[in-house]
Amino acid sequence: MAWKDSLQYTSSLKQQKNVIPELRILLIDENRQRAESLTSALNNSRYKINHLANPDMSLLKQVDEIQPDIIVIDIESPSRDILESLSTISHYNPKPIVMFSGEKDTDTINQYIESGVSAYVVGDLQADRVKPILDAAVARFREFQKLKVELSDTKQQLASRNLIDQAKRLLMKKRNLSEDDAFKAMRKTAMDTGQKLDDVAKTLISFLNTI
């Protein structure tokens, strides 16, 4: 390869990198051979693998340090319980988890794994199958997380609207204001003090309820 070509090649690699961000995979598998075949299957892709052959001693530390974008684990690994607990006991930023299994009947397990939460079972680690599965896992996981965030935002909005309504009604009752004036008064306070409307509502409710 001439030096010019090689330069061009490097710069096109860089460009590619700019377009598609790298994703860090934490692979938990005691079978070194399988790990190697997965690593080579993902060569020259956006997935970068960290392999943990004996995960039980340091899985928690590794998850903390690597902050993987995806965790790939053998379904038979004892560490599955650790992963499962990360989202329940510890307050842990959830990651998509891809599971693979030697079981022929993985489809049956697959249908019971809560769709979108985290887990996708791969029959085996054939090179041409792995990439699309990982892509799909990441995409579905992001979609699911987005829905979850939207849901909690909606809940939050409903809660603050309730607060504001409650404060408004209190103002109307205790200060004999019209609905429109009550709301304007609250909005003015919020703007003057640089607070959020629902914070003003909260303060008002506790204040008006004590006097």
Partner: protein
């Protein structure tokens, strides 16, 4: 007798001392007496065991007592109705501290030796000193988020007003507990046998107290299976429960438990030596390599004869009150926030009705046996 609709069954178990009823029923031929051909399949993690049960890859399985409730609520998994017709064991867990934490407790409290069962307030000093010196928090391990181990550990800590913010609680597979204690990755754990005894024998831990010191006689392991399986194959479930109940009764005798320890030790089951499996089975709690064991007669409890022959109560009955107690523990641990718990949840999961049907069959069979043998 009873005609099981399905005779070939695959049962899951986790290598633990209290999987004894499953292994005994298999090895002593109780399953075959009930016309069942059972294959026991060792599982490495509770989550995988649960997913395989949900998917029908296991027909039934040993479970942590809160697991059928968690499955039916869809906690940490898809919502699948799991039932339990039989309690397999009571008690059996213990809290073991690393040797390093043991020494820290002695030092910070100016003690020459600890008194067992260890009071949790002795930890308070260690926690405070670590906080002042800006050293890392203590880290304790349990085996699964929905487990009595976790609730027992919480209860013990809260008896000294130690909150979960004062230390870290993580999940570690039982098979790795001893190595974690040794490496210093964790300072203590709540785990079932034989892992506590193994840590003591290896000289790396102090078994501070057993779960019997925290809660007395609450269900630890249960038989779990899908509600849909029971609906389709009620006789199979009765036969299965009867064989396991027979194993529990067989395990009531201490000499039999020695024999059970020998059966469990084989590599297809626990793959551990008899000297770490036997103690808890015969009511002995190893404490520390330099200290005498404690007598805990109910350390592992599988059955208990009632003096009143007419009594139908037994520790193997999945009574509603036990389910309600577990629900209250889950609630205390904050696991039921944002979850709608149906009012009849416990009644649909805990099934004493199946237990009582099984008990009648079991009595019937022993009457027939008595007649045959003259």
């Amino acid at each position: 007798m009873i005609e099981p609709e399905q005779t070939d069954l695959i049962l899951g178990f986790i290598p633990l001392t209290d999987s004894a009823p499953l292994i005994v029923a298999k090895e002593m031929g109780f399953f075959s007496q009930w016309g069942l051909n059972v294959k026991l399949q060792k599982q490495n993690s509770w989550a995988t065991l649960r997913d395989k049960l949900h998917a029908g890859l296991l027909d039934a399985t040993q479970m942590l007592a809160p697991m059928p409730l968690a499955s039916s609520l869809g906690l940490g998994c898809a919502k699948v109705q799991v039932i339990t017709p039989l309690v397999l064991s009571l008690n059996g867990n213990a809290i073991t501290l690393s040797e390093k934490l043991h020494q820290e407790i002695l030092q910070e409290n100016n003690l020459a030796h600890v008194t067992l069962p260890l009071a949790a307030y002795l930890l308070q000093k260690v926690i405070n000193v670590r906080k002042i010196r800006k050293r890392p928090k203590l880290r304790f391990a349990t085996v699964f988020p929905y487990s009595c181990h976790y609730y027992q550990l919480r209860d013990w800590l809260s008896s000294a007003n130690i909150s979960e913010e004062d230390l870290d609680i993580v999940v570690v597979p039982p098979v790795n507990m001893v190595a974690f204690l040794q490496s210093g990755e964790i300072d203590g754990c709540c785990v079932g046998g034989p892992w506590n005894a193994k840590a003591v024998r290896a000289g790396i831990g102090l078994t501070a107290l057993t779960s019997f010191d925290i809660w007395q006689d609450s269900p630890e392991k249960v038989l779990g299976l899908l509600a849909s399986f029971q609906q389709a194959k009620p006789n199979t479930v009765i036969a299965l429960s009867a064989a396991l109940k027979q194993a529990c009764i067989w395990l009531e005798s201490i000499p039999n438990r020695f024999e059970a320890a020998r059966l469990l030790s084989s590599d297809q089951y626990l793959d551990a030596s008899v000297d770490v499996i036997a103690p808890s089975l015969i009511g002995s709690c190893l404490t520390h390599i330099t200290m005498p064991p404690r007598a805990i007669p109910s350390y592992n409890q599988f059955s208990k004869s009632t003096k009143n022959a007419a009594s139908t109560s037994s520790i193997n009955v999945p009574e509603y009150i036990r389910g309600e107690w577990l629900i209250s523990q889950m609630k205390n641990a904050g696991q039921l926030k944002d979850i709608d718990v149906p009012a009849d949840l416990v009644r649909t999961v805990f099934r004493p009705d199946i237990y009582h049907q099984m008990r009648l069959k079991l009595e019937d069979q022993s009457v027939q046996f008595f007649r045959r043998s003259g």
